[in-house]
């Protein structure tokens, strides 16, 4: 049976839980006793009409209410991802030099749920970022210290730190919905089903049919965006111009985690399972553990240094 059931109103068993953790920030290796089927959200940019239903559904489902902003001469609103806006339509007007036709490239931006998540690897707070074997990378704000390393560690520039709560925010892939067998709110709402959700294998098959259709319409470089530099992602795009991802409001052509974050990961591995106490081993984290509201410039600089040279 397909996910074509309405959401449950009676209790249902959760589809996944703590036993399914693949990674936990600053906590060493996890040992899940089973492998869940990997899930993925596929965003077909060629079917997207830029209606912002995904933004709307995300705000409503997650009880987020962004400030009412202003118009700055473009269609993006708000103007960037924020602690309240976990997804954002980005609009690019591009004249295709080959056809001289205008193309309005509209991309839904948000967390890519990397198989190799830079945010998690950069995160010094134990358990603040977790990854499940189904591919979901989730933030657990009970453990978040607001240091901002996740922001620097992310090759897609996704997480945002709230000035009021001092915590990091991003798309959870609607882990609460997936846990009861529903797709994310954005995918559910998407009028043209430009956003679809399912197993990663199914999504890749579906992408193939879309790419075939696009090629038949003259988009010879149509293709799937599932970048290997981050181990593949659990949010993928179908692009009409997959040879030039950066056309789509700066989608990284070849995202990868900064080597320094990778090194940091190595250290945590080496440090093994010394979960809580471990952070003390690293002097530069001293200020961080003092509290979320006491992130200092020094920490910021350390974060920057750590992630220096991350790919564009």
């Amino acid at each position: 049976m397909a996910i074509r059931t309405n959401p449950p109103t009676a209790p249902v068993p959760a589809a996944f839980g703590d036993r399914d953790l693949l990674r936990r920030s600053a906590s060493g290796a996890q040992t899940p006793d089973r492998q869940l089927t990997e899930v993925a959200k596929l965003i077909d940019v060629s079917k997207c009409i830029g209606c912002k239903a995904c933004q709307s559904a995300c705000l409503e489902w997650n009880n987020l209410r962004e400030e009412v902003g202003v118009n700055t001469g473009v269609y993006e609103n708000p103007h960037d991802l924020t602690p309240n806006s976990w997804t954002l339509m980005r609009f690019t007007e591009w004249v295709n030099p080959e056809t001289d036709d205008l193309e309005w490239l509209i991309r839904k931006d948000g967390c890519m749920h990397c198989a190799d998540p830079g945010c998690l690897k950069a995160c010094p707070a134990p358990g603040a970022i977790v990854q499940y074997t189904n591919g979901i990378v989730d933030f657990d704000r009970d453990h978040c210290i607001g240091c901002g390393y996740c922001v620097k560690g992310c090759p897609f520039n996704i997480p945002r730190i709230s000035k009021t709560s001092g915590k990091a925010y991003k798309c959870s892939l609607c882990s609460d919905r997936v846990a009861v067998g529903q797709g994310p709110a954005c995918a559910k709402a998407c009028p043209t089903q430009a956003i679809v959700f399912g197993t990663k294998a199914d999504m890749k098959l579906h992408a193939e049919t879309r790419i075939k259709d696009l090629k038949s319409r003259g988009y010879k470089n149509a293709g799937l965006y599932d970048p290997p530099g981050v181990g593949g992602t659990h949010v993928m795009y179908v692009l009409h111009h997959a040879d030039q991802p950066s056309l789509y409001a700066g989608l990284p052509d070849n995202p990868r985690i900064s080597p320094i974050v990778e090194a940091w990961k190595g250290v945590t591995k080496y440090a093994g399972l010394a979960i809580i106490g471990m952070t003390a081993a690293f002097g530069f984290l001293h200020h961080v553990v003092a509290g979320p509201n006491k992130v200092t410039e020094h920490d910021e600089e350390e974060g920057a240094r750590l992630t220096e040279g991350k790919s564009a």
């Binding site: 049976m1 397909a2 996910i3 074509r4 059931t5 309405n6 959401p7 449950p8 109103t9 009676a10 209790p11 249902v12 068993p13 959760a14 589809a15 996944f16 839980g17 703590d18 036993r19 399914d20 953790l21 089973r34 869940l36 089927t37 899930v39 596929l42 209606c51 912002k52 239903a53 933004q55 709307s56 559904a57 705000l59 409503e60 489902w61 358990g127 189904n134 989730d138 933030f139 657990d140 959870s172 882990s175 609460d176 919905r177 846990a179 009861v180 067998g181 709110a185 559910k188 709402a189 998407c190 009028p191 089903q193 679809v196 959700f197 399912g198 197993t199 199914d202 999504m203 579906h206």
Partner: protein, 199 residues
């Protein structure tokens, strides 16, 4: 009544939502277990579902309202969430950015809660009871109708029309509201009568 009427024939055609995936693939069918600590509790558990139709455009998407409290049991019901109805043949669970935010329409801070009157020359609205407002409006209607009703035209033909008070019908009210409105307006002989379809 509404849920009983629902025959959940799940759509089998390719249709929209081409990317259906077996729920089992997400881990269902396994043993029951606690939520992960990062995962929020599912907020619709114990809510009351009601079938409705999006009030905006004429695609008329099927929606489900989720409320705390059950009107059918005589309880007060507070709207908590609105989501597309996957059983609906047209929208198949999807919603546009307006439909997806319907909760904020029903709960808008500029929802009107009480009858108000603005007196001639005044710069403010004042509370008025329903009884007083309706009595006064009915008085206005009758006074104007009695003064300006045209029973016969210049040729002596019975025309029975009233053109000095007008009525604009809505665009999102029900057929049943429309017919009751029709009876009330036409029986008064009103001709200045239009609805949103005009524009």
């Amino acid at each position: 009544m509404n849920m009983e009427l629902s025959r959940r024939h799940f759509l089998k055609s390719a249709g929209a939502g081409v990317a259906g995936t077996a729920i089992g693939a997400f881990g269902f069918g396994g043993i029951e277990e606690a939520h992960a600590s990062s995962v929020r509790a599912f907020k619709l558990i114990t809510m009351v579902e009601t079938r409705n139709t999006c009030p905006y455009c004429s695609v008329a998407c099927g929606i489900i309202t989720y409320s705390k409290g059950d009107l059918r049991k005589g309880e007060t019901a507070e709207l908590i969430h609105v989501e597309g109805d996957v059983d609906h043949p047209t929208n198949r669970g999807t919603l546009c950015p307006k439909g997806a935010a319907l909760l904020d329409f029903a709960k808008s801070e500029t929802r009107l809660k009480y009858p108000m009157v603005r007196k001639p020359g005044s710069d403010k609205f004042e509370r008025i009871s329903w009884e007083a407002a309706l009595d006064r409006i009915a008085r206005h209607l009758k006074d104007d109708r009695d003064r300006n009703f045209v029973a016969k035209n210049n040729e002596g033909v019975t025309v029975n029309r009233w053109t000095t008070t007008g009525f604009l019908g809505a665009s999102a009210t029900t057929n049943e509201t429309a017919f009751v409105t029709y009876k009330v307006v036409r029986s008064a002989g009103m001709l200045v009568f239009d609805n949103q379809a005009r524009v």
